[in-house]
């Protein structure tokens, strides 16, 4: 099964990348953009999607500073 893990900085955790993008967009003429956050995307084929949360906790995300969300799609 194809799965995606969306990883983003936890609320309240400093997100310098998001800040930089938020400042850059208006300068390019893209107004009306706010609350920008930059995170990571992991896409993978996984036989047993039930193990995904554990994979996230142990390797894919850093639970100390990141939240994650799992999206699965049947191929």
């Amino acid at each position: 099964m194809r799965a995606r893990v969306l990883i983003r900085p936890k609320a309240g955790i400093l997100d310098p990348q998001g800040q930089t993008v938020e400042r850059a967009l208006p300068a390019l003429g893209f107004d009306g953009v706010s609350h920008v956050h930059v995170g990571r995307l992991v896409e993978l084929d996984v036989e047993d999607p039930a193990r995904l949360p554990e994979m996230c906790e142990r390797l894919l995300a850093n639970p100390l500073i990141e939240d994650y969300e799992i999206q699965t799609q049947t191929a």
Partner: protein
């Protein structure tokens, strides 16, 4: 000969580049927010971490106001050298072909390497001999040169591969050992190695000086 060295927020090697250029000519820093190259005859986009390398290396700096002037200058044939982060910025700006991807090791690597001059026909390499070996340092996390194969073939055929890592010394997994490329006209060059850190034997090597001297020679020829 007057060099302008661009300083973005997050540039790190701009003073090194300035001092290197001053060994062969006049040089001053150019502020990223100004629409002004202050009459420079050659532009250096230095190394560092412009805008913290946030989002994607070079992606934000390429839109800095000064870059509009740099683009105009480059398209009119003015000599432009991008070093490391500067190379990344020039690729993002479309002034050079290809892109730079994370090193295969995924680690920052700082190391003295040998590179070979693969084209002596650019504004920044005319003072060196084709095939000459230079000792210069690399220091980057995102230096793996990439372009699709047909593009690489074309660059090779056009003589746009400027520097190559010496056999066995490719530090980052770059396609075809590419350490530097130029645009088709040869006035815009991007390098991952740092010639500005190789201008004094006391700090490792002075081979990099030849690249800065090349551009002044070009200017002398044109004059």
């Amino acid at each position: 000969m007057r060099f302008g060295v661009v300083r973005f927020p997050g540039s790190c090697d701009e003073v090194d580049a300035l001092q290197a250029a001053q060994l062969v000519g006049d040089a001053e820093l150019l502020w990223y927010a100004d629409h002004d190259l202050r009459g420079a005859d050659a532009i250096i986009i230095p190394g560092g971490f412009s805008y913290g390398d946030h989002l994607r290396v070079g992606a934000v700096a390429r839109f800095a106001p000064v870059m509009e002037e740099v683009e105009r200058f480059a398209r009119s044939g003015g000599p432009v050298l991008g070093i490391c982060n500067g190379f990344q910025v020039l690729c993002e700006a479309g002034l050079l072909p290809g892109a730079l991807l994370p090193n295969t090791s995924l680690r920052f690597l700082c190391r003295q390497v040998d590179v070979e001059v693969a084209s002596a026909d650019t504004a920044w390499t005319r003072g060196v001999a084709l095939g000459e070996r230079l000792s210069v340092p690399v220091k980057h996390t995102t230096g793996r040169y990439y372009a699709p194969d047909p593009v690489l073939d074309e660059l090779t055929a056009n003589g746009q591969l400027t520097l190559r890592y010496a056999p066995g010394q490719n530090p980052n997994g770059s396609a075809r050992d590419i350490a530097g490329v130029s645009n088709a006209a040869g006035n815009v060059v991007g390098l991952m190695p740092h010639p500005e850190h190789a201008v004094d034997p006391l700090t490792g090597s002075e081979d990099g000086l030849k690249l800065f001297a090349s551009v002044t020679r070009g200017a002398a020829l044109a004059a």
